[in-house]
Symmetry: C3
Subunit: 210 residues, 3 copies
Amino acid sequence: MTTDVSTTQVVLDLVGIFVFSISGALVAVRKGYDVFGVLVLAGMTGLGGGFIRDVLIDATPPAALEDWRYLMAPLAAGVLAFVFHPAIGRMERSINVLDAFGLGLFCVTGALKALDYGLGLVPAALMGMVTGIGGGMLRDILASRVPAVFRGELYAIPALAGAGVVVALAHTDLSYWTVALLGGGLCTGWRLLAIWRHWRAPVPTGPASV
Amino acid sequence: MTTDVSTTQVVLDLVGIFVFSISGALVAVRKGYDVFGVLVLAGMTGLGGGFIRDVLIDATPPAALEDWRYLMAPLAAGVLAFVFHPAIGRMERSINVLDAFGLGLFCVTGALKALDYGLGLVPAALMGMVTGIGGGMLRDILASRVPAVFRGELYAIPALAGAGVVVALAHTDLSYWTVALLGGGLCTGWRLLAIWRHWRAPVPTGPASV
Amino acid sequence: MTTDVSTTQVVLDLVGIFVFSISGALVAVRKGYDVFGVLVLAGMTGLGGGFIRDVLIDATPPAALEDWRYLMAPLAAGVLAFVFHPAIGRMERSINVLDAFGLGLFCVTGALKALDYGLGLVPAALMGMVTGIGGGMLRDILASRVPAVFRGELYAIPALAGAGVVVALAHTDLSYWTVALLGGGLCTGWRLLAIWRHWRAPVPTGPASV
Protein backbone atom coordinates (compact mmCIF):
# COMPACT_ATOMS: atom_id res chain seq x y z
CA MET A 1 0.00 0.00 0.00
CA THR A 2 1.33 3.44 -0.80
CA THR A 3 0.31 6.25 1.48
CA ASP A 4 -1.08 9.23 -0.37
CA VAL A 5 -3.09 11.19 2.17
CA SER A 6 -4.29 14.65 1.30
CA THR A 7 -6.62 17.35 2.43
CA THR A 8 -9.40 15.05 1.21
CA GLN A 9 -8.60 12.88 4.22
CA VAL A 10 -8.87 15.81 6.64
CA VAL A 11 -12.15 16.92 5.09
CA LEU A 12 -13.57 13.38 5.35
CA ASP A 13 -12.39 13.19 8.96
CA LEU A 14 -14.11 16.44 9.82
CA VAL A 15 -17.34 15.29 8.18
CA GLY A 16 -17.22 12.04 10.16
CA ILE A 17 -16.59 13.87 13.44
CA PHE A 18 -19.38 16.33 12.66
CA VAL A 19 -21.95 13.59 11.97
CA PHE A 20 -21.02 11.63 15.11
CA SER A 21 -21.18 14.85 17.12
CA ILE A 22 -24.72 15.55 15.88
CA SER A 23 -25.82 12.17 17.21
CA GLY A 24 -24.28 12.92 20.61
CA ALA A 25 -25.81 16.39 20.75
CA LEU A 26 -29.28 15.02 19.98
CA VAL A 27 -29.04 12.52 22.85
CA ALA A 28 -28.10 15.38 25.18
CA VAL A 29 -31.00 17.56 23.98
CA ARG A 30 -33.45 14.72 24.54
CA LYS A 31 -32.10 14.17 28.05
CA GLY A 32 -32.72 17.85 28.80
CA TYR A 33 -29.02 18.62 29.34
CA ASP A 34 -27.92 22.25 29.36
CA VAL A 35 -25.87 23.89 26.61
CA PHE A 36 -22.64 22.67 28.14
CA GLY A 37 -23.88 19.09 28.32
CA VAL A 38 -24.88 19.31 24.66
CA LEU A 39 -21.41 20.49 23.66
CA VAL A 40 -19.62 17.88 25.79
CA LEU A 41 -21.74 15.02 24.50
CA ALA A 42 -21.16 16.28 20.95
CA GLY A 43 -17.41 16.39 21.56
CA MET A 44 -17.14 13.05 23.31
CA THR A 45 -19.19 11.30 20.62
CA GLY A 46 -17.27 12.87 17.75
CA LEU A 47 -13.78 12.65 19.20
CA GLY A 48 -13.99 10.01 21.95
CA GLY A 49 -13.22 6.97 19.80
CA GLY A 50 -10.03 8.60 18.57
CA PHE A 51 -9.13 9.65 22.12
CA ILE A 52 -9.43 6.09 23.44
CA ARG A 53 -7.39 4.74 20.53
CA ASP A 54 -4.68 7.38 20.94
CA VAL A 55 -4.37 6.82 24.68
CA LEU A 56 -4.08 3.05 24.18
CA ILE A 57 -1.55 3.15 21.34
CA ASP A 58 0.48 5.91 23.04
CA ALA A 59 -0.22 8.58 20.42
CA THR A 60 -0.84 11.29 23.04
CA PRO A 61 -1.75 14.09 23.02
CA PRO A 62 -4.58 12.98 20.71
CA ALA A 63 -4.68 14.62 17.28
CA ALA A 64 -7.81 16.58 18.22
CA LEU A 65 -5.81 18.41 20.89
CA GLU A 66 -3.05 19.29 18.43
CA ASP A 67 -5.19 20.75 15.66
CA TRP A 68 -7.94 23.23 16.55
CA ARG A 69 -9.96 22.34 13.44
CA TYR A 70 -10.92 19.03 15.01
CA LEU A 71 -12.46 20.91 17.92
CA MET A 72 -14.54 23.14 15.65
CA ALA A 73 -16.57 20.25 14.18
CA PRO A 74 -18.23 19.18 17.47
CA LEU A 75 -18.61 22.84 18.49
CA ALA A 76 -20.54 23.56 15.28
CA ALA A 77 -22.57 20.36 15.63
CA GLY A 78 -23.43 21.12 19.24
CA VAL A 79 -24.54 24.69 18.55
CA LEU A 80 -26.62 23.59 15.54
CA ALA A 81 -28.30 20.81 17.52
CA PHE A 82 -28.92 23.13 20.47
CA VAL A 83 -30.72 25.67 18.28
CA PHE A 84 -32.32 23.58 15.53
CA HIS A 85 -32.92 20.26 17.35
CA PRO A 86 -36.58 19.87 16.34
CA ALA A 87 -35.66 20.04 12.64
CA ILE A 88 -32.50 17.95 13.02
CA GLY A 89 -34.36 15.33 15.05
CA ARG A 90 -36.76 14.84 12.16
CA MET A 91 -33.82 14.11 9.85
CA GLU A 92 -32.71 11.18 12.00
CA ARG A 93 -32.96 8.70 9.16
CA SER A 94 -30.62 10.77 7.01
CA ILE A 95 -28.30 11.17 9.97
CA ASN A 96 -28.16 7.39 10.42
CA VAL A 97 -27.07 7.08 6.80
CA LEU A 98 -24.35 9.70 7.25
CA ASP A 99 -23.36 7.98 10.49
CA ALA A 100 -22.76 4.75 8.55
CA PHE A 101 -20.31 6.65 6.36
CA GLY A 102 -18.61 8.07 9.46
CA LEU A 103 -18.29 4.56 10.86
CA GLY A 104 -16.69 3.28 7.66
CA LEU A 105 -14.28 6.19 7.65
CA PHE A 106 -13.24 5.86 11.30
CA CYS A 107 -12.65 2.10 11.17
CA VAL A 108 -10.25 2.69 8.25
CA THR A 109 -8.32 5.63 9.72
CA GLY A 110 -8.25 4.02 13.19
CA ALA A 111 -6.81 0.75 11.93
CA LEU A 112 -4.19 2.47 9.79
CA LYS A 113 -3.06 4.72 12.64
CA ALA A 114 -2.70 1.71 14.94
CA LEU A 115 -0.57 -0.07 12.32
CA ASP A 116 1.56 3.09 12.00
CA TYR A 117 2.19 2.93 15.74
CA GLY A 118 3.45 -0.63 15.47
CA LEU A 119 0.49 -2.69 16.60
CA GLY A 120 -0.02 -6.19 15.20
CA LEU A 121 -2.80 -7.07 12.79
CA VAL A 122 -5.43 -8.26 15.29
CA PRO A 123 -4.95 -5.41 17.79
CA ALA A 124 -4.89 -2.88 14.93
CA ALA A 125 -8.23 -4.17 13.65
CA LEU A 126 -9.61 -3.91 17.18
CA MET A 127 -8.37 -0.32 17.41
CA GLY A 128 -10.13 0.44 14.11
CA MET A 129 -13.36 -0.84 15.61
CA VAL A 130 -12.76 1.11 18.84
CA THR A 131 -12.24 4.31 16.84
CA GLY A 132 -15.60 3.74 15.18
CA ILE A 133 -17.66 2.75 18.21
CA GLY A 134 -15.82 4.33 21.17
CA GLY A 135 -17.40 7.76 20.85
CA GLY A 136 -20.91 6.34 20.92
CA MET A 137 -20.05 4.22 23.95
CA LEU A 138 -18.74 7.25 25.86
CA ARG A 139 -21.89 9.16 24.83
CA ASP A 140 -24.10 6.45 26.31
CA ILE A 141 -22.05 6.15 29.52
CA LEU A 142 -22.25 9.94 30.03
CA ALA A 143 -25.99 9.76 29.35
CA SER A 144 -26.40 7.00 32.00
CA ARG A 145 -27.80 4.49 29.54
CA VAL A 146 -26.78 1.07 28.28
CA PRO A 147 -24.51 1.50 25.24
CA ALA A 148 -26.63 1.23 22.07
CA VAL A 149 -23.93 -0.94 20.55
CA PHE A 150 -24.78 -3.74 23.05
CA ARG A 151 -28.51 -3.76 22.35
CA GLY A 152 -28.67 -5.73 19.13
CA GLU A 153 -27.83 -2.84 16.79
CA LEU A 154 -25.58 -4.26 14.04
CA TYR A 155 -22.88 -1.64 14.39
CA ALA A 156 -19.66 -2.93 15.88
CA ILE A 157 -19.38 -6.05 13.75
CA PRO A 158 -19.33 -4.15 10.42
CA ALA A 159 -16.73 -1.83 11.93
CA LEU A 160 -14.55 -4.76 12.95
CA ALA A 161 -14.96 -6.40 9.54
CA GLY A 162 -14.01 -3.22 7.72
CA ALA A 163 -10.98 -2.68 9.94
CA GLY A 164 -10.03 -6.33 9.41
CA VAL A 165 -10.01 -5.86 5.62
CA VAL A 166 -7.83 -2.77 6.03
CA VAL A 167 -5.18 -4.51 8.15
CA ALA A 168 -5.21 -7.57 5.89
CA LEU A 169 -4.55 -5.46 2.80
CA ALA A 170 -2.35 -2.76 4.32
CA HIS A 171 0.91 -4.50 3.41
CA THR A 172 -0.07 -5.33 -0.17
CA ASP A 173 0.69 -3.25 -3.26
CA LEU A 174 -2.79 -1.77 -3.33
CA SER A 175 -3.01 2.01 -3.09
CA TYR A 176 -4.14 3.76 0.10
CA TRP A 177 -7.44 4.73 -1.47
CA THR A 178 -8.17 1.21 -2.75
CA VAL A 179 -7.62 -0.28 0.70
CA ALA A 180 -9.68 2.47 2.31
CA LEU A 181 -12.54 2.03 -0.13
CA LEU A 182 -12.62 -1.75 0.26
CA GLY A 183 -12.52 -1.70 4.07
CA GLY A 184 -14.68 1.36 4.56
CA GLY A 185 -17.06 0.23 1.82
CA LEU A 186 -17.58 -3.16 3.47
CA CYS A 187 -18.28 -1.50 6.82
CA THR A 188 -20.59 1.23 5.49
CA GLY A 189 -22.38 -1.07 3.05
CA TRP A 190 -23.02 -3.72 5.70
CA ARG A 191 -24.23 -1.09 8.16
CA LEU A 192 -26.58 0.48 5.59
CA LEU A 193 -28.00 -2.96 4.71
CA ALA A 194 -28.53 -3.63 8.41
CA ILE A 195 -30.48 -0.37 8.78
CA TRP A 196 -32.50 -1.02 5.61
CA ARG A 197 -33.28 -4.70 6.29
CA HIS A 198 -33.55 -4.37 10.10
CA TRP A 199 -30.80 -6.92 10.66
CA ARG A 200 -30.00 -7.46 14.33
CA ALA A 201 -27.01 -8.97 16.11
CA PRO A 202 -27.81 -12.33 17.76
CA VAL A 203 -28.71 -12.38 21.45
CA PRO A 204 -28.25 -15.32 23.85
CA THR A 205 -31.08 -17.85 23.85
CA GLY A 206 -32.39 -20.05 26.61
CA PRO A 207 -33.28 -19.15 30.19
CA ALA A 208 -31.11 -16.43 31.71
CA SER A 209 -30.11 -17.95 35.02
CA VAL A 210 -30.11 -15.40 37.81
CA MET B 1 4.72 35.44 32.90
CA THR B 2 7.43 34.40 35.29
CA THR B 3 7.05 31.11 37.07
CA ASP B 4 7.50 31.36 40.81
CA VAL B 5 5.81 28.33 42.28
CA SER B 6 6.34 27.47 45.90
CA THR B 7 5.05 25.33 48.69
CA THR B 8 2.06 27.68 48.69
CA GLN B 9 1.07 26.05 45.41
CA VAL B 10 1.30 22.55 46.86
CA VAL B 11 -0.74 23.56 49.91
CA LEU B 12 -3.41 25.13 47.70
CA ASP B 13 -3.46 22.01 45.54
CA LEU B 14 -3.95 19.78 48.56
CA VAL B 15 -6.78 21.99 49.85
CA GLY B 16 -8.49 21.80 46.45
CA ILE B 17 -8.13 18.02 46.29
CA PHE B 18 -9.41 17.70 49.85
CA VAL B 19 -12.54 19.77 49.18
CA PHE B 20 -13.35 17.92 45.96
CA SER B 21 -12.80 14.62 47.76
CA ILE B 22 -15.29 15.59 50.46
CA SER B 23 -17.95 16.11 47.79
CA GLY B 24 -17.24 12.70 46.30
CA ALA B 25 -17.28 10.99 49.69
CA LEU B 26 -20.65 12.55 50.57
CA VAL B 27 -22.20 11.23 47.35
CA ALA B 28 -20.91 7.75 48.22
CA VAL B 29 -22.27 7.93 51.77
CA ARG B 30 -25.68 8.97 50.48
CA LYS B 31 -25.69 6.09 48.01
CA GLY B 32 -25.00 3.69 50.89
CA TYR B 33 -21.60 2.62 49.54
CA ASP B 34 -19.24 0.79 51.86
CA VAL B 35 -16.03 2.27 53.28
CA PHE B 36 -14.09 1.32 50.19
CA GLY B 37 -16.62 2.97 47.89
CA VAL B 38 -16.41 6.12 49.99
CA LEU B 39 -12.62 6.21 49.67
CA VAL B 40 -12.66 5.49 45.93
CA LEU B 41 -15.27 8.12 45.21
CA ALA B 42 -13.30 10.58 47.33
CA GLY B 43 -10.14 9.78 45.41
CA MET B 44 -11.68 9.83 41.94
CA THR B 45 -13.40 13.15 42.62
CA GLY B 46 -10.32 14.77 44.10
CA LEU B 47 -7.75 13.40 41.69
CA GLY B 48 -9.73 12.30 38.62
CA GLY B 49 -9.63 15.57 36.72
CA GLY B 50 -5.86 15.66 36.98
CA PHE B 51 -5.65 12.00 35.96
CA ILE B 52 -7.67 12.59 32.78
CA ARG B 53 -5.58 15.66 31.93
CA ASP B 54 -2.29 13.85 32.56
CA VAL B 55 -3.27 10.83 30.46
CA LEU B 56 -4.35 13.07 27.56
CA ILE B 57 -1.29 15.35 27.58
CA ASP B 58 1.10 12.42 28.10
CA ALA B 59 2.24 13.44 31.58
CA THR B 60 2.03 9.90 32.95
CA PRO B 61 2.34 8.62 35.61
CA PRO B 62 0.05 11.35 36.98
CA ALA B 63 1.55 13.57 39.69
CA ALA B 64 -0.69 12.00 42.35
CA LEU B 65 1.04 8.66 41.77
CA GLU B 66 4.49 10.22 42.13
CA ASP B 67 3.95 12.08 45.40
CA TRP B 68 2.25 10.30 48.29
CA ARG B 69 0.98 13.56 49.80
CA TYR B 70 -1.59 13.82 47.02
CA LEU B 71 -3.01 10.45 48.07
CA MET B 72 -3.34 11.50 51.71
CA ALA B 73 -5.83 14.29 50.99
CA PRO B 74 -8.61 12.03 49.62
CA LEU B 75 -7.82 9.41 52.26
CA ALA B 76 -8.34 11.98 55.02
CA ALA B 77 -11.47 13.35 53.33
CA GLY B 78 -12.94 9.89 52.90
CA VAL B 79 -12.32 8.83 56.49
CA LEU B 80 -13.75 12.12 57.81
CA ALA B 81 -16.86 11.84 55.65
CA PHE B 82 -17.31 8.18 56.58
CA VAL B 83 -17.30 8.99 60.29
CA PHE B 84 -18.76 12.50 60.48
CA HIS B 85 -21.08 12.56 57.45
CA PRO B 86 -24.17 13.84 59.26
CA ALA B 87 -22.29 16.93 60.43
CA ILE B 88 -20.40 17.42 57.15
CA GLY B 89 -23.61 17.02 55.16
CA ARG B 90 -25.14 19.93 57.09
CA MET B 91 -22.20 22.13 56.06
CA GLU B 92 -22.96 21.59 52.36
CA ARG B 93 -23.35 25.31 51.67
CA SER B 94 -19.90 26.03 53.07
CA ILE B 95 -18.52 23.11 51.10
CA ASN B 96 -19.97 24.53 47.89
CA VAL B 97 -18.13 27.78 48.56
CA LEU B 98 -14.86 25.95 49.14
CA ASP B 99 -15.56 23.88 46.05
CA ALA B 100 -15.75 27.09 43.99
CA PHE B 101 -12.25 27.94 45.19
CA GLY B 102 -11.06 24.44 44.28
CA LEU B 103 -12.54 24.88 40.80
CA GLY B 104 -10.73 28.19 40.31
CA LEU B 105 -7.49 26.66 41.46
CA PHE B 106 -7.73 23.56 39.26
CA CYS B 107 -8.62 25.45 36.07
CA VAL B 108 -5.47 27.54 36.58
CA THR B 109 -3.05 24.73 37.38
CA GLY B 110 -4.56 22.48 34.70
CA ALA B 111 -4.24 25.06 31.94
CA LEU B 112 -0.66 25.93 32.92
CA LYS B 113 0.42 22.29 33.01
CA ALA B 114 -1.08 21.71 29.55
CA LEU B 115 0.84 24.71 28.20
CA ASP B 116 4.03 23.34 29.79
CA TYR B 117 3.47 20.11 27.90
CA GLY B 118 3.29 21.98 24.59
CA LEU B 119 -0.44 22.16 23.92
CA GLY B 120 -1.86 25.10 21.98
CA LEU B 121 -3.97 27.81 23.58
CA VAL B 122 -7.44 26.37 22.88
CA PRO B 123 -6.60 22.78 23.90
CA ALA B 124 -4.79 24.06 27.01
CA ALA B 125 -7.86 26.02 28.07
CA LEU B 126 -9.96 22.89 27.53
CA MET B 127 -7.53 20.88 29.67
CA GLY B 128 -7.87 23.50 32.42
CA MET B 129 -11.62 23.02 32.34
CA VAL B 130 -11.23 19.22 32.30
CA THR B 131 -8.98 19.39 35.36
CA GLY B 132 -11.70 21.32 37.16
CA ILE B 133 -14.72 19.28 36.16
CA GLY B 134 -13.32 15.82 35.34
CA GLY B 135 -13.28 14.54 38.91
CA GLY B 136 -16.93 15.40 39.43
CA MET B 137 -17.84 13.70 36.15
CA LEU B 138 -16.04 10.50 37.15
CA ARG B 139 -17.79 10.68 40.55
CA ASP B 140 -21.19 10.82 38.88
CA ILE B 141 -20.38 8.02 36.39
CA LEU B 142 -19.24 5.78 39.26
CA ALA B 143 -22.41 6.68 41.16
CA SER B 144 -24.57 5.72 38.13
CA ARG B 145 -26.12 9.18 37.80
CA VAL B 146 -26.19 11.86 35.14
CA PRO B 147 -23.18 14.16 35.60
CA ALA B 148 -24.28 17.19 37.66
CA VAL B 149 -22.33 19.40 35.29
CA PHE B 150 -24.86 18.63 32.50
CA ARG B 151 -27.95 19.49 34.53
CA GLY B 152 -27.96 23.27 34.34
CA GLU B 153 -25.44 23.86 37.13
CA LEU B 154 -23.25 26.81 36.04
CA TYR B 155 -19.97 25.07 36.71
CA ALA B 156 -18.05 24.19 33.57
CA ILE B 157 -18.41 27.55 31.83
CA PRO B 158 -16.72 29.53 34.63
CA ALA B 159 -13.93 26.93 34.63
CA LEU B 160 -13.46 27.31 30.87
CA ALA B 161 -13.51 31.11 31.14
CA GLY B 162 -10.92 31.10 33.92
CA ALA B 163 -8.67 28.71 32.02
CA GLY B 164 -9.10 30.88 28.92
CA VAL B 165 -7.85 33.95 30.79
CA VAL B 166 -4.85 31.98 32.01
CA VAL B 167 -3.77 30.79 28.56
CA ALA B 168 -4.37 34.24 27.07
CA LEU B 169 -2.10 35.88 29.66
CA ALA B 170 0.45 33.12 30.13
CA HIS B 171 2.89 34.54 27.60
CA THR B 172 2.71 38.15 28.82
CA ASP B 173 5.04 39.80 31.33
CA LEU B 174 2.57 39.35 34.17
CA SER B 175 3.77 37.34 37.15
CA TYR B 176 2.57 33.79 37.80
CA TRP B 177 0.46 34.90 40.73
CA THR B 178 -1.16 37.76 38.82
CA VAL B 179 -2.21 35.42 36.01
CA ALA B 180 -3.42 32.81 38.50
CA LEU B 181 -5.41 35.36 40.48
CA LEU B 182 -7.05 36.86 37.38
CA GLY B 183 -8.00 33.47 35.86
CA GLY B 184 -8.84 31.71 39.09
CA GLY B 185 -10.63 34.79 40.42
CA LEU B 186 -12.86 35.02 37.34
CA CYS B 187 -13.76 31.33 37.66
CA THR B 188 -14.35 31.33 41.41
CA GLY B 189 -16.15 34.69 41.42
CA TRP B 190 -18.48 33.68 38.60
CA ARG B 191 -19.20 30.36 40.26
CA LEU B 192 -19.95 31.99 43.63
CA LEU B 193 -22.28 34.50 41.95
CA ALA B 194 -24.04 31.61 40.18
CA ILE B 195 -24.59 29.86 43.52
CA TRP B 196 -25.74 33.07 45.22
CA ARG B 197 -28.02 34.32 42.42
CA HIS B 198 -29.20 30.85 41.29
CA TRP B 199 -27.92 31.40 37.77
CA ARG B 200 -28.44 28.39 35.52
CA ALA B 201 -26.91 27.36 32.18
CA PRO B 202 -29.38 27.60 29.27
CA VAL B 203 -31.22 24.46 28.20
CA PRO B 204 -32.62 23.76 24.71
CA THR B 205 -36.09 25.16 24.03
CA GLY B 206 -38.85 23.88 21.80
CA PRO B 207 -40.30 20.39 21.53
CA ALA B 208 -37.75 17.61 22.02
CA SER B 209 -38.36 15.42 19.00
CA VAL B 210 -38.14 11.72 19.84
CA MET C 1 13.57 -10.66 45.36
CA THR C 2 14.94 -12.35 42.29
CA THR C 3 12.80 -12.26 39.18
CA ASP C 4 12.29 -15.66 37.64
CA VAL C 5 9.21 -15.40 35.50
CA SER C 6 8.34 -18.20 33.16
CA THR C 7 5.61 -19.59 31.01
CA THR C 8 3.90 -20.54 34.28
CA GLN C 9 3.28 -16.83 34.78
CA VAL C 10 1.71 -16.44 31.33
CA VAL C 11 -0.50 -19.48 31.89
CA LEU C 12 -1.65 -18.15 35.28
CA ASP C 13 -2.32 -14.75 33.70
CA LEU C 14 -4.44 -16.32 30.98
CA VAL C 15 -6.42 -18.32 33.54
CA GLY C 16 -7.07 -15.15 35.56
CA ILE C 17 -8.19 -13.22 32.48
CA PHE C 18 -10.42 -16.09 31.42
CA VAL C 19 -12.17 -16.31 34.81
CA PHE C 20 -12.73 -12.55 35.02
CA SER C 21 -14.02 -12.58 31.44
CA ILE C 22 -16.59 -15.24 32.30
CA SER C 23 -17.98 -13.01 35.05
CA GLY C 24 -18.27 -10.10 32.60
CA ALA C 25 -19.90 -12.25 29.94
CA LEU C 26 -22.50 -13.55 32.42
CA VAL C 27 -23.49 -10.00 33.39
CA ALA C 28 -23.95 -9.18 29.69
CA VAL C 29 -26.05 -12.30 29.08
CA ARG C 30 -28.30 -11.44 32.02
CA LYS C 31 -28.75 -7.91 30.73
CA GLY C 32 -29.87 -9.31 27.37
CA TYR C 33 -26.93 -7.83 25.47
CA ASP C 34 -26.21 -9.12 21.98
CA VAL C 35 -23.21 -11.29 21.07
CA PHE C 36 -21.01 -8.26 20.62
CA GLY C 37 -21.96 -6.87 24.02
CA VAL C 38 -21.13 -10.24 25.58
CA LEU C 39 -17.67 -10.24 23.98
CA VAL C 40 -16.95 -6.62 24.91
CA LEU C 41 -18.02 -7.07 28.51
CA ALA C 42 -15.91 -10.24 28.66
CA GLY C 43 -12.91 -8.37 27.28
CA MET C 44 -13.29 -5.27 29.45
CA THR C 45 -13.71 -7.34 32.61
CA GLY C 46 -10.77 -9.61 31.82
CA LEU C 47 -8.37 -7.00 30.49
CA GLY C 48 -9.70 -3.66 31.76
CA GLY C 49 -7.82 -3.58 35.06
CA GLY C 50 -4.53 -4.08 33.24
CA PHE C 51 -5.49 -1.44 30.65
CA ILE C 52 -6.16 1.19 33.34
CA ARG C 53 -2.90 0.32 35.11
CA ASP C 54 -0.88 0.43 31.88
CA VAL C 55 -2.34 3.77 30.79
CA LEU C 56 -1.62 5.30 34.22
CA ILE C 57 1.95 4.00 34.56
CA ASP C 58 2.75 4.80 30.91
CA ALA C 59 3.20 1.20 29.79
CA THR C 60 1.27 1.72 26.56
CA PRO C 61 0.29 0.00 24.37
CA PRO C 62 -1.03 -2.38 27.04
CA ALA C 63 0.40 -5.89 27.00
CA ALA C 64 -2.91 -7.34 25.79
CA LEU C 65 -2.54 -5.32 22.56
CA GLU C 66 1.01 -6.61 22.01
CA ASP C 67 0.34 -10.33 22.41
CA TRP C 68 -2.64 -11.89 20.68
CA ARG C 69 -2.89 -14.70 23.25
CA TYR C 70 -4.27 -12.23 25.78
CA LEU C 71 -7.13 -11.46 23.41
CA MET C 72 -8.02 -15.12 22.94
CA ALA C 73 -8.93 -15.68 26.61
CA PRO C 74 -11.87 -13.24 26.69
CA LEU C 75 -12.93 -14.35 23.21
CA ALA C 76 -13.15 -17.95 24.37
CA ALA C 77 -14.88 -16.93 27.61
CA GLY C 78 -17.41 -14.79 25.75
CA VAL C 79 -18.27 -17.49 23.21
CA LEU C 80 -18.60 -20.12 25.94
CA ALA C 81 -20.85 -17.89 28.06
CA PHE C 82 -22.94 -16.93 25.02
CA VAL C 83 -23.65 -20.57 24.18
CA PHE C 84 -23.61 -22.32 27.57
CA HIS C 85 -24.78 -19.54 29.90
CA PRO C 86 -27.50 -21.55 31.66
CA ALA C 87 -24.96 -24.18 32.71
CA ILE C 88 -22.23 -21.66 33.51
CA GLY C 89 -24.64 -19.50 35.50
CA ARG C 90 -25.40 -22.47 37.74
CA MET C 91 -21.68 -22.81 38.48
CA GLU C 92 -21.52 -19.28 39.87
CA ARG C 93 -20.26 -20.41 43.25
CA SER C 94 -17.32 -22.21 41.64
CA ILE C 95 -16.69 -19.19 39.47
CA ASN C 96 -16.53 -16.97 42.55
CA VAL C 97 -13.86 -19.24 43.96
CA LEU C 98 -11.84 -19.09 40.75
CA ASP C 99 -12.38 -15.33 40.68
CA ALA C 100 -10.75 -15.08 44.11
CA PHE C 101 -7.68 -16.75 42.64
CA GLY C 102 -7.74 -14.35 39.70
CA LEU C 103 -7.88 -11.44 42.12
CA GLY C 104 -4.90 -12.70 44.07
CA LEU C 105 -2.95 -13.18 40.86
CA PHE C 106 -3.75 -9.76 39.43
CA CYS C 107 -2.92 -7.82 42.59
CA VAL C 108 0.52 -9.46 42.55
CA THR C 109 1.34 -8.96 38.88
CA GLY C 110 -0.13 -5.44 38.87
CA ALA C 111 1.92 -4.30 41.85
CA LEU C 112 5.13 -5.80 40.45
CA LYS C 113 4.64 -4.19 37.04
CA ALA C 114 4.06 -0.79 38.67
CA LEU C 115 7.28 -1.18 40.66
CA ASP C 116 9.10 -2.12 37.46
CA TYR C 117 7.90 1.14 35.93
CA GLY C 118 9.36 3.15 38.80
CA LEU C 119 6.36 3.88 40.98
CA GLY C 120 6.79 4.24 44.72
CA LEU C 121 5.53 1.67 47.21
CA VAL C 122 2.13 3.20 48.00
CA PRO C 123 1.18 3.99 44.37
CA ALA C 124 2.41 0.54 43.29
CA ALA C 125 0.18 -1.15 45.86
CA LEU C 126 -2.73 0.98 44.60
CA MET C 127 -1.97 -0.09 41.02
CA GLY C 128 -2.00 -3.72 42.16
CA MET C 129 -5.47 -3.20 43.58
CA VAL C 130 -6.59 -1.36 40.43
CA THR C 131 -5.39 -4.27 38.29
CA GLY C 132 -7.52 -6.60 40.37
CA ILE C 133 -10.69 -4.54 40.60
CA GLY C 134 -10.57 -2.25 37.54
CA GLY C 135 -12.03 -4.77 35.11
CA GLY C 136 -15.05 -5.41 37.29
CA MET C 137 -15.61 -1.67 37.70
CA LEU C 138 -15.54 -1.11 33.93
CA ARG C 139 -17.95 -4.05 33.54
CA ASP C 140 -20.42 -2.45 35.93
CA ILE C 141 -20.12 1.01 34.35
CA LEU C 142 -20.77 -0.49 30.90
CA ALA C 143 -23.73 -2.40 32.35
CA SER C 144 -25.17 0.86 33.83
CA ARG C 145 -25.08 -0.40 37.39
CA VAL C 146 -23.37 0.63 40.59
CA PRO C 147 -19.96 -1.07 40.80
CA ALA C 148 -20.31 -4.26 42.88
CA VAL C 149 -17.09 -3.37 44.63
CA PHE C 150 -18.83 -0.40 46.33
CA ARG C 151 -21.77 -2.37 47.67
CA GLY C 152 -20.26 -4.02 50.71
CA GLU C 153 -18.60 -6.92 48.87
CA LEU C 154 -15.24 -7.53 50.59
CA TYR C 155 -13.20 -7.48 47.41
CA ALA C 156 -10.99 -4.43 47.05
CA ILE C 157 -9.53 -4.49 50.55
CA PRO C 158 -8.04 -8.01 50.22
CA ALA C 159 -6.61 -6.92 46.85
CA LEU C 160 -4.99 -3.86 48.41
CA ALA C 161 -3.64 -5.93 51.31
CA GLY C 162 -2.13 -8.51 48.97
CA ALA C 163 -0.56 -5.85 46.79
CA GLY C 164 0.75 -4.14 49.93
CA VAL C 165 2.54 -7.33 51.00
CA VAL C 166 4.07 -7.65 47.55
CA VAL C 167 5.50 -4.11 47.48
CA ALA C 168 6.73 -4.45 51.07
CA LEU C 169 8.65 -7.63 50.25
CA ALA C 170 9.68 -6.88 46.69
CA HIS C 171 13.09 -5.50 47.65
CA THR C 172 13.98 -8.27 50.07
CA ASP C 173 15.97 -11.40 49.26
CA LEU C 174 12.86 -13.53 48.97
CA SER C 175 12.29 -15.23 45.63
CA TYR C 176 9.69 -14.02 43.16
CA TRP C 177 7.47 -16.99 43.86
CA THR C 178 7.66 -16.60 47.62
CA VAL C 179 6.61 -12.96 47.41
CA ALA C 180 3.85 -13.80 44.95
CA LEU C 181 2.55 -16.64 47.10
CA LEU C 182 2.53 -14.54 50.27
CA GLY C 183 0.79 -11.54 48.68
CA GLY C 184 -1.53 -13.46 46.42
CA GLY C 185 -2.26 -15.99 49.15
CA LEU C 186 -3.28 -13.27 51.61
CA CYS C 187 -5.59 -11.70 49.01
CA THR C 188 -7.15 -14.95 47.81
CA GLY C 189 -7.43 -16.45 51.28
CA TRP C 190 -9.09 -13.36 52.72
CA ARG C 191 -11.47 -13.16 49.78
CA LEU C 192 -12.43 -16.85 50.09
CA LEU C 193 -13.05 -16.44 53.81
CA ALA C 194 -15.22 -13.40 53.08
CA ILE C 195 -17.31 -15.44 50.63
CA TRP C 196 -17.54 -18.39 53.01
CA ARG C 197 -18.31 -16.40 56.18
CA HIS C 198 -20.36 -13.67 54.45
CA TRP C 199 -18.04 -10.94 55.69
CA ARG C 200 -19.03 -7.49 54.47
CA ALA C 201 -17.15 -4.19 54.27
CA PRO C 202 -18.44 -1.61 56.77
CA VAL C 203 -20.97 0.97 55.59
CA PRO C 204 -21.52 4.44 57.10
CA THR C 205 -23.86 4.55 60.09
CA GLY C 206 -26.16 7.28 61.25
CA PRO C 207 -28.71 9.32 59.31
CA ALA C 208 -27.68 10.09 55.74
CA SER C 209 -28.25 13.82 55.50
CA VAL C 210 -29.75 14.85 52.16
